[in-house]
Amino acid sequence: MQGFLAFLRRFARSKLALFGLVIVAIVVFAAVFGRWLVPFDPFAQNILGRLKPPFSEARNGGIHLLGTEALGRDVFSRLVIGAQVSLLVGVASVALSSVVGITMGILAGYEDKYLGRILMGITDVQLAIPFLVLALAVVAVLGPSLFNLIMVLGLTNWVQYARVVRAECLVLREREYVQAARALGASTPRILFRHLLPNVMSSVIVISSLLVAKMILFESSLSFLGLGVPPSTPTWGAMIAEGRNYIANAWWVAAIPGFAIFITVIGINLVGDRLRDMLDPRLKQVEN
């Protein structure tokens, strides 16, 4: 706890990073507690009260703070619920890709004779296939759903982890304590998980924080191409993609989730940058 507070204090030395952290905190709060805070049922339609501007009165009292969208649903409520979905997509897909990437990276870094080369070959194959083609293949096979979207994003963005983790492991495994553990007869899994994994965690945290931001943007791009979540699920990306059709006469439908993505991604990036500066100054090359 003490250490964490000290860390936080050091973190907050950058005002910008603190600003980013506040944004992230607000979004996380909305995502977690939003369903109890929203003024309207985000799924309740009223097609005769569609595309009402912000601060319009609702049919059964109450105010649509940010207006209504194409089917008369409350934009503010959908934005709040959307935070939950967008964040879930970002975090879950990052979790998936980090598990895949770290596993591949550690294995490849520990044993770089045959297995390692094959694994690195797979990462090169992955890097050489345009992301969209992979995404479509998976969506096509599985159908559009939240779970599938997370799978798509998770399984197409692990290369960075694999590369960085492998590079670190190649260095780490020559260290004395790993050599010593091996000499003492520690099993390979034990060496991998007890000795190598903890030491790559700071890189992983930095990559992950920046990747979450990128995943949220990916989600919006896939939704734009019609490959995202099913339509009734409110994610920010899907809200923009749907709302762009009304931009000439109902700017709020697309502009508000657009701004939400923009500000959230900025917040996450600010936090991620700060984490990188603090945890791992060598990691400049970790770019999304």
Partner: protein, 305 residues
């Protein structure tokens, strides 16, 4: 050295082969194009006959071997929808995409290099802040959102730029901005931090100590060294950058390979998807190969790798 080049080359060929396997099987799991291609009232018999004619009813491994056998001879098959050679369709559109990418790259270098140099040499100054804002905004906008905003502002309201198509330099401006936003952000922040590191390094201090001017230090030493990690990352990101081109081309109706690919995917035009992915794979792998080889040249120890 020759042995090193040869081994890298063989590896590159293996990667492209791996890509061909992955793509061939992946796009086929999602159903074949028969039902999409025939009119809605076509009967099940019509669909079955079409499938036989196209060879979709054969075991997938047989189909792959057939594809591989032809591809080695340079025959990537006929596009189902265009009824023309698939690779030819891809290659026809390459110049347009290259032109757009070059314009976008030029734009982002034009902005990011001076900005990064100023930010790195004047830390905490107004330049550093502008650099920070540019890199934050550039990587926080969904590409399609930026593209639509550009069209709304510069075409619909100001009527300054044509919203779509290809032809004059004016057609390139908005797509290039939309495509460059992300890479500008990335290059600016990477180059800035690399520059800062190099500027603090011993040999730069030595150079300064010898009385070299600030300009000479920055341009002759720091920029050159800082460029290497930046270039590496750009090389690795070629695939992702061209992913952005797909959306940009779609919105600005720009006749490049990205649009071709999206339509081919939606229509299950297998041969075109395969030709597109293989073309991209060769491009990406070649770029990475060049990067690898240049490392080999720079650092003899890696040659045995």
């Amino acid at each position: 050295m020759l042995g090193y080049v040869a081994s890298r080359l063989i590896y590159a060929i293996l990667v492209v082969f791996g890509v061909s396997v992955a793509v061939f099987f992946l796009i086929r799991i999602g159903g074949d194009p028969s039902a999409l291609f025939l009119p809605p009232e076509a009967s099940l018999e019509d669909i079955a006959a079409f499938r036989t004619q196209m060879g979709f009813d054969r075991p997938i491994v047989v189909q792959y071997l057939d594809f591989l056998g032809r591809a080695v001879q340079g025959d990537f098959g006929q596009s189902l929808r265009y009824q023309q050679p698939a690779m030819q369709l891809v290659l026809e559109r390459v110049p347009a995409t290259l032109q757009l990418s070059a314009a976008a790259l030029a734009l982002s270098l034009l902005i990011s290099i001076p900005l990064a140099i100023l930010a790195a040499t004047h830390r905490g100054s107004i330049f550093d802040r502008v650099g920070l804002v540019v890199s934050l905004i550039g990587q926080s906008f969904p590409t399609f959102w930026l593209a639509i905003m550009l069209i709304l502002i510069f075409s619909e309201h100001l009527r300054m730029l044509p919203p779509s198509g290809r032809g004059t330099w004016a057609h390139l401006i908005m797509p290039a901005i939309a495509l460059a936003a992300y890479s500008t952000a990335i290059i600016t922040r990477l180059l800035r931090s690399s520059m800062i590191e190099v500027l603090q390094s011993d040999y730069v201090r030595t150079a300064r100590g010898k009385g070299l001017s600030q300009g000479r230090v920055v341009f002759r030493h720091a920029l050159r060294n800082a460029a290497i990690p930046t270039l590496t990352v750009i090389g690795l990101q070629v695939g992702a950058l061209l992913g952005g081109a797909v959306i940009t081309e779609e919105i600005f109706a720009y006749p490049g390979i990205g649009r071709l690919a999206i339509q081919a995917i939606a229509n299950r035009d297998f041969t075109v998807v395969q030709a597109f992915v293989l073309f991209m794979a060769v491009l990406i792998v070649s770029i990475n190969l060049l990067v690898d080889l240049s490392y080999g040249l720079l650092d003899p120890r890696l040659r045995k790798g």
